[in-house]
Amino acid sequence: MSAYEPKIVGIFCNWCAYTAADLAGISRMKYAPNVRIIRVMCSGRFDPQMVFWAFKHGADGVLIAGCHPGDCHYQEGNYKALRRYKLLQKLLDQLGIERERVRLEWISASEGEKVKQVIDEMTETLRRLGPLKIQEAPGEEAAAAPAAGGGHHG
Amino acid sequence: MEIQRTIKYEAELDRQFAYEIAQSPGAETLFECIQCGACSAACPVSIYMDLTPRRVIAMTREGFKHEVLSSLTIWLCSSCYACTVECPVGIKVTDVMYALKQRAIKEGYGPRKVLTRLLAQSFFQAVKEDGRATERKVMLRLYRRAGLDHLIRMAPLGLKLWRTGRLSAFGTERIKNPAEVRTLLECLEEQEGGKSP
């Protein structure tokens, strides 16, 4: 076992996945500390740019978690996330980035156990894959924050 | 009137024992036991047991190693799995019984002449030699170990079976290369650090 520990950004929807993570906490489940969870209202807020932004800033993987199909608090945001995720996977292939580094999961508010299981699994997978190897585009500054005016979309 | 002290001091218990048993496949939920007794009630042999299966679980969990490994219960289990399917918390009680039997044999517990145990050992040897268990061979070995009276008691039945061709008198069932099975077993025993009885 190497000393390498992957860093994973979690994009969790408020109503299901984030609540489930709370439940995992309340139930005192123990899981790998590698995922840093960021709360958004809906997995529909997930933007593939977030993945590249995260990779650029040192992430080895991104975990997006939303409500099960049909259960979205906002009717269908999770389907939108799924669509973007599918496109993103193709893009990852082209860039030579392993698909396993970005994972989309449906986790309902009652599935604390699944939070644990998914995080442990993904951490284990990324440990095996090792650090993300991606070449920084020359000349790009390591900005302290995204450039004003949504520059990262440019 | 003879009286006996039954108090159990904590120092006499083996806490580790419970954790070791809970390690064996099927016994993972040992500590979740709610002591409902469904296992004992479902067990067709519990009426003969000195400790009901429920008590075996409770005592295992609390580290009553000596009592559990010396009990008749583990040798009376007929592996019918009635307890296992009944258990409301998913303890595979039959597997716990196996784990306890293994421990008892390994640590030399219990009366040597418990037939169940001799049967297991005779069977084990036969399979190791031939790759198969010829019933006649296993039985003969068992009752020889158990004592002459057992052998005599079983003789009439043996004779009947022999007459109907259900107990091959001479031949031994053997696979083509028993050595293969032996290798298989020995390999694993090596890994285990020598576990054969």
Binding site: - | S79, L115, L119, V127, L157, L161, L185, C187, S196
Partner: protein, 293 residues
């Protein structure tokens, strides 16, 4: 594919000889191909698990690997073998560490475990191919008027039942009815026969045998039909002692379901191994024939 990889197990070579004979005869008569799994070894049975779980799994695993190599599903008439093989397969999926050890060891013997060799019991197989309806068409000597207690024993019903809902299943009963015989209600159809206890803890074993036989007699059964060599052996070989001890004079033959089926299919009793039984089935049949005539 050369038909089912027939795995008789040790008992079917000894006390369960007639089970072996009747399985082969019935499968042949129904045109379901089977061929013995070459060089199979003992499944490990329950006794082996008492010594060491891991080596018990290894024994069963070798057979699974042999069948995997051959590429055929295993046919295991002995419920004990059926259980041990199934349990091993399940546990090796569930416990990757044990699997790892066994896979490595098997590799040294040039064997590959595989994952999902189907393990089937003749009840399952025959109810699908040729299926009960097809069997019904082939019945030549229906066993009309014969009252039979259906006895599954433990291990086909639990913990890995051959049918989805073991409490409500009628798979064995259906076979009995196909032969033309009548099924009596039998509350103890999945109660333990005592297993190895008859041989090692006599008193307990005999009591268990007695309970099963008494209920069959109480329900007016003229035969008990089993699916297991150990059940058959216990109920037959210890019947005399068990019933005599409780003051019961009657005796009841104990048959394999394949024997019952074979008789109805018109196969000669000898081919079905009926001559090996200690409590003959013949007299009842005669009485029956008289009753019918």
């Amino acid at each position: 594919m050369s038909g089912y990889a027939y795995y008789p197990g040790c008992s079917l070579l000894g006390t369960g000889k007639s089970y072996d004979e009747s399985v082969r005869a019935v499968f042949e008569a129904l045109g379901v191909p089977l061929q013995e799994l070459e060089n199979w070894n003992c499944c490990g049975a329950t006794a082996y698990s008492s010594i060491d779980e891991c080596t018990a799994f290894a024994l069963a695993a070798r057979n699974l690997a042999l069948a995997h190599r051959r590429g055929d599903p295993i046919l295991a008439p002995c419920p004990n073998c059926y259980l041990v093989l199934t349990k091993t397969q399940r546990y090796l999926e569930q416990y990757p560490e044990i699997r790892q050890r066994i896979v490595q060891t098997l590799e040294r013997l040039g064997l590959n475990l595989g994952h999902d060799v189907p393990i089937r019991h003749p009840l399952q197989v025959l109810s699908e191919t040729p299926g009960l309806e097809a069997i019904r068409q082939k019945i030549q000597k229906p066993l009309k008027g014969l009252r039979v207690a259906p006895y599954y024993g433990c291990l086909l019903a639990r913990p890995y039942p051959i049918v989805e809902d073991p409490w409500n299943t009628t798979i064995l009963e259906d076979f009995i009815r196909v032969t033309g015989a009548e099924v009596v209600p039998y509350a103890y159809r999945t109660r333990c026969c005592g297993g190895a206890l008859t041989g090692v803890v006599r008193e307990a074993g005999l009591r268990m045998v007695y309970i099963l036989l008494r209920e069959a007699l109480r329900q007016g059964a003229q035969a008990v039909v089993t699916t297991c060599p150990l059940c058959q052996f216990n109920l037959e070989a210890f019947q005399d002692q068990a019933l005599r001890k409780n003051g019961i004079q009657e005796r009841i033959p104990v048959l394999y379901f394949t024997q019952l089926l074979g008789l109805a299919l018109g196969l000669p009793p000898k081919k079905l191994g009926l001559h090996r039984h200690l409590i003959p089935f013949q007299p009842q049949r005669k009485a029956l024939q008289e009753a019918v005539a």
